[in-house]
Structure formats: C-alpha cells, structure tokens
C-alpha cells in the first residue's frame, strides 16, 4: 500500500472546467502511443499536465499509471518505488519483486530493472506510464534507468514524459527509429482559434477579435498567462482598457497579471495567498495554523472553484498545491513585502507538521525558516527512526546543512549523523566528527554541560554513545584494511556498550567476526558471529540474523562442521518463518547455502530443491551476495550432471555479480572455474589462470589464499607431476589447514596427497592419507569431496575397505561413485598404484612404438624398461601388452585425454 504522501503523487490530475478541446494535439498523442516514448517538453504554464490528463481521460483504451515527480525522486530507490507504485495502480502486482528488493535496501541494478521489464511484458493490460514534472530529476542513475526501460520496453507499455527540460536520453536515436513523438511549446501554445474558444466559449468574456489577438500576441499563446488574464477580466467593465494596459507594457507577463489578480481579491484572500505561497502542500488545518486564522479549508475550496491556480492532490479535496509558477510569483511578492514574517510562518508550519506526526516536513520548514536550533533538535529525535527506515540519504542531507559548530555541541546528534554517513559509505571527516562526539561526552561526564552549551535532546541515546564511537572506528579500520584495528575497536565496543544495547553489541561482534574470519581465526570468528546472532535475535532484528547466519554457515563449513553449518541455516529459516508475513531478506541465501551443504553429503535431490526454492525467492528475499551465491551452488550441480559449459556460464555470471559485502573472498570464482577446467581436462585454461594470478608452490600460505593454492596443487597433479615438490607443497598446505582448524581443507588436501603418493608409486603413504580423510569425513558425512576426485580415489577407497578402514562409511562412499563404478569387476581394484615412471611407460605402450624406441624416448635402458613393464603387468594383473592397454583404459588411468 502506498503511503498517503505517495498517494498524492499517483493522483491523476482531475479535469478542470473551462478546458479547450485540442483535437490537433490529441491526434499527435494518439500517434505517439504507438511509439515507445512521448515527450511533452515546454516551459511552465504551457498546459503539459492538462493535455496528457485530458487525453488519457478521453482517448485511451489503455490503463494509465500516473506519477507526479518531486525532488525526493532523485534517489533512485525512491524513484523506482514510486514508479512501481504508479504501475501497480494499473497492473496490480507488477514490479513486486523489484519493490521489495528496494525496500530491503538493495541497490538498483540492471537485473532488478530487467525483472521489472519481464513483469511488464507479462502484464495482462496495456499501460500508459506518465511521468510528470520529469525536469526535477537530475540524477544520472535515474536517467540511465529510464533509458534502459525505454530501450527494453514491451510493446503494450508506453511512456509519456512531461518536462521543462529535454531529458538526457538518446532522443535522436529514438526519433530516427520513429519511437519518439514530441509535443513542444510551439505546439502547446494556444492558437488564435483556441484562444477565442477559451475566452468566449468557456469563460464567456465576449472579447473582440482585436482584443483576443492583442492578448495572444502579448502572451505568445502562453496558456497560464491567458488564464490569469481571463481571471483579471472576469466581471470587469473596461475589458478593452485592461487589454490595452496589459499589451502596452514590457513587464514580465506573470508579474503584471498576478498583481492584477491579487488586486481584485479581498484583503483576506490576498493575505491568505501570499502567506501560504511558500507551502508545497496545502490543507485547511495547515493553512489555519500558518495564517493563525480559521476557514482555510473553505477558502481553498473556493479558490479551486475560481480556477485560482490550485491543483488538487487527492480526490477528497484535502490537499492542494499552487501551480508552481503562480506560487513562485506569489512568493516573490510576499518576500518583498513581508520578509520579516516568513520565519514565523515557517515556524508555524514546522510546529503543525511536528504535531501531526510528519517530522521530516517539520525539519524542512525549520531549516527553510533558518531556525537551525529547532532543526537540530528535531533531527536528533528523528535519526533513530529514519535510520530504521533506511533513510540514510536523508540523514546525509541533514549532515550537509547543519553547521559543524552546532553539531559539535550535540553529541547525540553528532553520532546519529555519523551513523547515516557511514551507512552510505561516506568516511570523509568521520574521524573528526567522532572526536567531537568524544569531547562532548567527556565534558558531560565532568558535569560541565551548561558552561559548554552542550545540548542533549534524546537522553536515552547517551549510554550507547561510547560503544557507538568505537563501532564506527572499527568501520573506519575495516575500510582501511587494518584488521588489527578492526579487532581492537570491535573489542572496545563489547567492553563499552551497555549490556542491553543488543544492536550496538551485535555490530561489534560482526566486525570482530569479519576480522577474525579474514585473518583465518575461524573459531574466534564463529564465536563472535554466534554471539552477534543471539544479540540480534534478542533485539528483534530477525532479518539481520539471517545475514549473520550465512556467515556462520560459511565459517563452520570451513571448519569441517558440515552438520553445524546445516543447523545454522535451518535454525535461521525456522526463526524467519516464525515471523509470518513475506519472506525475510536473506531466506534466499539460506536456501542457496543449504543447496551447497546438502550437495556435500551427496543428497542431490535436496540440493536441487533448495536451489529451486532459492531461485523462487530470488532477489526479493536475497542479501547482496545472493546472486553470486546462487550461481555458485547452481554451477556445482551442473558440473555433477556433466554439463561443464553450463557450469562455466554460471560461474562467469557469478564473477560479474560478486559483491564483497565485507565478507572475505575465500573462494574466488576464478579459482572455482580453474578447478572446473582441470576436471574437464582443459588444462590450458587452468594454466592461464595460474599465470595470470601468479601463484607458485613457493608462495607463503594464508587462509585467504588457501582455496587458490589447493587449486594450484590440483593443476600440478593433473599435469602428471607427482614429484617431491608437489608433495612438499601439499604437506605445507596440510600443516597450515590443521593449525587453522580448517578440517574441510584437511580432508581435501589429504585426498590430493593420496593421489600424489599413488602417482609416485608410494601406495602405503597414499593409504595413510586416505585413512585420515576418511576418519575426519565420516562423522560429518562428507561425500562429494571424495566422489569428485573420480576413479583414482575410488580404487584407493577399495584398498582402504580391504583393510577395514571406516568400512560402513567407505562402502557408502564407493556406492556414491555411481552405478558405472559398482559394475566394475572386483579384480579391477588397483591395490598397488602405478608409479609415475610406470605410467609413463604404460602411456607409450599404448602407442605403436617398439620396446627399444620406448626406452629411447624415456632415456632409459632397455632393461629398466623391461622391469617397468613387468611391474605394470603385475599390478594390472595382465600378461600382455595388449591386455595392459585394455585394462588401463578400463580403469581410466589416463582420464579422457588420449596419448599422442
């Protein structure tokens, strides 16, 4: 449901009496409806709004969606929320996904807009979207969004824009494509015929052709001026004298005519018009408060009936506004006559809005009336609610206009402004502001308030200030990449924030969690996040607990605690579900996370189901990282189905959509893609990745690079290197993972060690490594880590099974290798793996080279070659070269790559 303030923006202006039918323009607009865009571009007072409203009321078979823009629409979030609210008046439900994404604070992006375009193409009705007063928009982002919409507009939608300035769209291109129809001031101005119809048929003024042409010439057909002239002439005896006086001077048309009109009003009406001209909205009670009199509602009604440039903003005749041009000229008159009174009137308007629960408007009027002290007090009170409603842009606006001196004396106000700025990612000058707040607090603590003119309006906020200062310092350190600083300040938050300041403490623990996570201190990070989650839950910020839970799942998974990771997601989802209402933001991330977690256990049905649910919830219930997380999960499942190309496409998208959101980037998409390429046998692509990223096995190891370093080890193994260097590298990786408590990596590295040892012919060591992986993997039920390694691990598992290592688990793992694997004859078990050299020989045995040539190729003696061959035959359980080659293929010892 649109708020009352928004509702007035969606109100299609009602038709006034005394309108002239303009068939020539109506035809133009009918024609325009076949194009994508109609642009009605002319200065104020040329009847743009009336023309479109008239045309919609008469000619259109389409539904209409009207939006009167104002300055607040320069915030893309506000603009698109308003556009969707307008569209929904014509096509209910359109843009619902985009709207809830915007409401949950998601930044506008082309994906959201593309979703809106999809909704519109599916809309059952044809819609005219009208954007009135588009000239108030000066935000390039808003222009870009509308350009995107126009360029992707479904055929049943048409956009009409009324503006005083041509918008920066590619108008020339649209014009050339026949997709733009324009109505400009030369088209809009009244012709002699229209002026005659207006003055004589509608206004019954009975003007002579000569007088009409004089008026027409003087005003150049400017409609607002002709209307004012008509008002001035109503009931006048000496119409010709009026026309002569008007036509015979050079004064700005509106100056002259407004004066004329004002002179013809009673003193009461004249005073009312001037004293209310500064209000951007007028209602009876507001006008009464401002003019300190009564009867404002009846007067507004009467003025509207007289066509005195009053525009209704709703159909109950509660709110009006003056025609902008009229208001501007009235204000100029008032300022020159009653400037001293203006601050008093603003004060009254401010009081009225404050009493009627519209604090932001009360602040606007306090600022406009230069009552900066009052504005500061109101802003201090308004900040908590404004930030709850994600009005950071508004807070930033306040921070800009309030003088530093004034803020310095108000520590609660100061910290509130800092909060708004930091949430917008603005860190300039924050340190100074924090120091001012700190100084103010210190003075207060000494009881020196009166002497230092310190002002605290919202006393309830005082106790949380010391913690808040440290919280924003932690944010500053985070931005600088100073992990030690983050930990220090976040710890101070927990020391200083009162026990009942759940939000402040949760902020501290979040920073502590991020810093420890980035540093690889997983257990410390886990404890911090878990504490933060519980605090947020106590504070009732359930939506925020979801964001924390996804981090918890990431961390516990890295720790190898698969069960705990699943439990963290499940618990968050239960909590969210218990709230009722639409899905909370973050639920889509939980399902994407669960998809990956269930895949680890090879529960692919559950994984697919969670992935589908996550997609259904979509961007609507997704955190900033959701588009990336969803694609990673989907790519893994694609890979399992053997669709590598599909997986790579998803990964490319994920890379483009990745947003840090403060989380450490421990599993870069480029490395995931390199692993896919390795599994696919496209080693050239993987090698290019390694070259570009510059990784070597001599690198210093860290948690942040661990995933990439393991990828490097995989690449080396895939190239057939089973040498000492790779094994030493794996040993180092293992040691680092063990000391960091990253048990998932320990399993993975152990499996790679097993493969490396096996390739080097060291079967016993390989089995030790596999046993370690099995022992750690069993309690948590890891499956895919093993299965993804393919047949090489399967044969080692069979060997492990023979030795009775975790038999139930090992059998389960072997079963997971799929029907093809189970169908393998039992004697295919390769208990003693081939050494690297033996594999080289075997590779050449598949060629048509003779024994001597093979020995020469490998630069070994014929005897050595023979003993290798003998070992190979033994290990493979064969007696001939032909059957050895056959068995090697059966065991897929060379993967998919064929020897040259």
């Amino acid at each position: 449901m649109a708020s009352p303030l928004v509702a007035t923006k969606l109100f299609v202006p009602t038709r006034r009496t005394g309108l002239v039918a303009r068939p020539r323009l109506r035809e133009r607009l009918d024609h325009g409806a076949k194009a994508r865009l109609t642009l009605v571009s002319a200065p104020a007072g040329f009847g743009k709004t009336t023309l479109i409203a008239e045309w919609l009321a008469n000619a259109s078979k389409r539904a209409s969606a009207w939006l009167s823009l104002d300055r607040t629409d320069n915030d893309p979030g506000t603009f698109w929320s308003d556009v969707i609210a307008a569209l929904q008046t014509a096509a209910p439900g359109v843009g619902a996904t985009m709207l809830s994404s915007l409401q949950s604070g998601q930044q506008l992006n082309e994906h959201l807009l593309a979703g809106l375009v999809n909704d519109l193409s599916a809309a059952p009705v044809a819609v005219h979207l009208v954007l009135d007063d588009y000239h108030v928009i000066d935000q390039p982002d808003v222009h870009a969004g509308i350009t995107f919409l126009v360029e992707h507009l479904p055929p049943q939608i048409h956009i009409a824009i009324a503006t005083r300035v041509d918008p920066p769209f590619p108008l020339a291109r649209l014009r050339a494509q026949g997709e733009l129809v324009e109505v400009r001031s030369a088209d809009l101005r009244f012709t002699g015929e229209e002026a005659t119809a207006y003055f004589n048929r509608e206004m019954h003024l009975g003007l002579s052709p000569r007088n009409i042409s004089a008026l027409e010439e003087r005003t150049e057909g400017w409609i607002a001026a002709l209307q004012l002239a008509a008002l001035s002439m109503q009931g006048r005896e000496d119409v010709t004298a009026f026309v002569a006086g008007f036509a015979g001077n050079n004064r700005y048309v509106f100056d002259y005519l407004v004066e004329e009109v004002l002179q013809r009003q009673s003193e009461a009406v004249r005073s009312f018009l001037l004293r209310t001209s500064f209000l951007d909205r007028l209602s009876g009670p507001l006008c009464d408060a401002v003019t300190a009199s009564r009867g404002g509602g009846a007067l507004l009604d009467a003025l509207h009936r007289q066509n005195l440039f009053l525009v209704p903003l709703d159909d109950r005749r509660q709110w009006y506004r003056y025609h902008h041009l009229f208001a501007d000229v009235l204000q100029a008159h008032f300022v020159s006559e009653g400037e001293a009174e203006l601050p008093i009137l603003h004060r009254r308007a401010s009081d009225w809005y404050e009493q009627n629960g519209e604090r932001p408007k009360a602040i606007d009027h306090a600022l406009a009336g230069a009552d900066i002290e009052r504005a500061a007090a109101l802003i201090e009170l308004a900040i908590p609610e404004t930030s709850r409603n994600r009005g950071e842009a508004i807070i930033r606006g306040w921070a800009r206009v309030l003088p530093a001196e004034l803020v310095r004396a108000r520590p609660v106000l100061g910290i509130g402004l800092v909060g708004g700025l930091v949430s917008r990612g603005e860190f300039e000058g924050i340190e100074d502001r924090l120091r001012d707040v700190e100084r103010g607090l210190a003075t207060l603590a000494q009881g020196g308030a009166p002497a230092h003119n310190l002002v605290v309006i919202d006393r309830d906020q005082l106790p949380r200030l010391p913690g808040a200062i440290e919280l924003y310092r932690a944010a500053l350190a985070q931005v600088r990449g100073d992990i030690v600083g983050v930990i220090h300040h976040a710890q101070r938050v927990l020391d200083l924030a009162p026990a009942d300041d759940d939000l402040g403490r949760a902020g501290g623990t979040a920073f502590l969690g991020i810093a420890n996570w980035s540093a690889g201190n997983l257990e410390a990070a886990r404890c911090a996040w878990a504490e933060g989650r519980d605090g947020l839950q106590r504070a009732g910020h359930i939506a925020d607990t979801l964001g924390v839970s996804i981090a918890l799942a990431d961390i516990t998974l890295a720790q190898g605690r698969l069960g705990d990771a699943i439990e963290a997601c499940d618990r968050a989802l239960q909590l969210a579900a218990a709230q009722g209402g639409p899905p909370l933001r973050g639920t889509a991330d939980m399902h994407a996370g669960l998809s990956e977690l269930h895949r680890e256990r090879n529960d692919l049905d559950a994984a697919r189901q969670h992935l589908a649910t996550s997609q259904e919830l979509g961007a609507r219930a997704g955190l900033p990282q959701h588009p990336y997380r969803w694609r990673i999960a989907a790519a893994q499942l694609r890979r399992d189905e053997g669709d590598f190309d599909g997986a790579i496409v998803l990964l490319d998208e994920a890379e483009r959509l990745y947003i840090s959101d403060f989380f450490p980037y421990v599993r870069p998409v480029s490395a995931i893609r390199a692993r896919m390429r390795i599994a696919q046998g496209r080693l050239d692509e993987a090698l290019r990745w390694q070259r570009e990223r510059g990784f070597t096995i001599g690198d210093e190891l860290s948690y942040l690079r661990e995933y990439e370093h393991i990828t490097v080890a995989r690449l080396l193994l895939a190239q057939g290197a089973g040498g000492t260097e790779v094994r030493l590298f794996l040993d180092r990786l293992l040691e680092s993972a063990v000391s960091g408590g990253r048990m998932r990596s320990v399993i993975e590295i152990s499996l790679l060690q097993a493969l490396a040892s096996r390739a080097a012919g060291d079967g016993a060591v390989a089995l030790v490594a596999v046993e370690r992986a099995l022992t750690i993997g069993e309690p948590e039920g890891y499956v895919r880590l093993f299965v993804d390694e393919g047949e090489a691990i399967a044969s080692l598992l069979r060997a492990a099974l023979k030795r009775g290592i975790t038999p139930a688990y090992t059998r389960r793992l072997l079963a997971a290798f799929g029907p093809a694997e189970r169908a393998q004859p039992a004697h295919a078990d390769l208990i003693e793996p081939l050494s690297e050299r033996e594999l080289d020989v075997l590779r050449l045995l598949r060629s048509d080279l003779g024994g001597l040539e093979i020995a020469r190729e490998l630069m070994i003696s014929l005897n050595t070659m023979r003993s290798h061959t003998k070992n190979i035959y033994e290990k493979l359980g064969v007696t001939s070269r032909r059957s050895a080659v056959h068995r090697a293929d059966e065991l897929r010892l060379f993967g998919h790559t064929q020897p040259n």
Partner: protein
Amino acid sequence: MRKPASSTPERHEAASYEIRLEGHLDARWAAQLDATSLIHESDGTTVISILAADQSRLHGLLQRIRDLALPLVSVTRLRPADPEQPSTLPAPLPNKGH
C-alpha cells in the same frame, strides 16, 4: 563587442555574469534570484548581473529562470581583468527598475 572569456585555466573559478531575459522583470526578483543588479533595458529586456558565481550557482540561477518560464536571451561571462571593459562591471547595488 565583448570577447568570450578565455576557457583555460580559470575555467572553474567564479566569475561575474550578465543574463539577459525577455520582458521587464519586477525589481523584487533581484532578491529572489540573488542578483547584484537588475536593469530594465529600453529594448524590453532585463539584464541581471551576478557577481563571483561559480558554475553550480550559475546553473542554479538558470534553473530558477527556467521555472519562471522567463525567455532567456543571452548569458555572458564578464572579464573583470579586461581593461577595455571596466564599464561593463555590474553595479554593486540593485537597480530599482523603472
């Protein structure tokens, strides 16, 4: 004729401007538009002068003029350092009009 101001290097510094509009604007607008002077010319135009305006102030003023639907005739940047043009400097006080 006034020469157009040289572009570099003071392009972004504040300068004085004369803005010529069609019609005679009431003197009360001088304060509204924050103009230094407002002069009615005999050709039926009004010349508004603003001192030391940077580009954003200039555009803000042009926007106000747009919103009043005042037909714009010309905008001229004055070159205070130009010794040939001392007399074109705007008067320091608003002209009260005719």
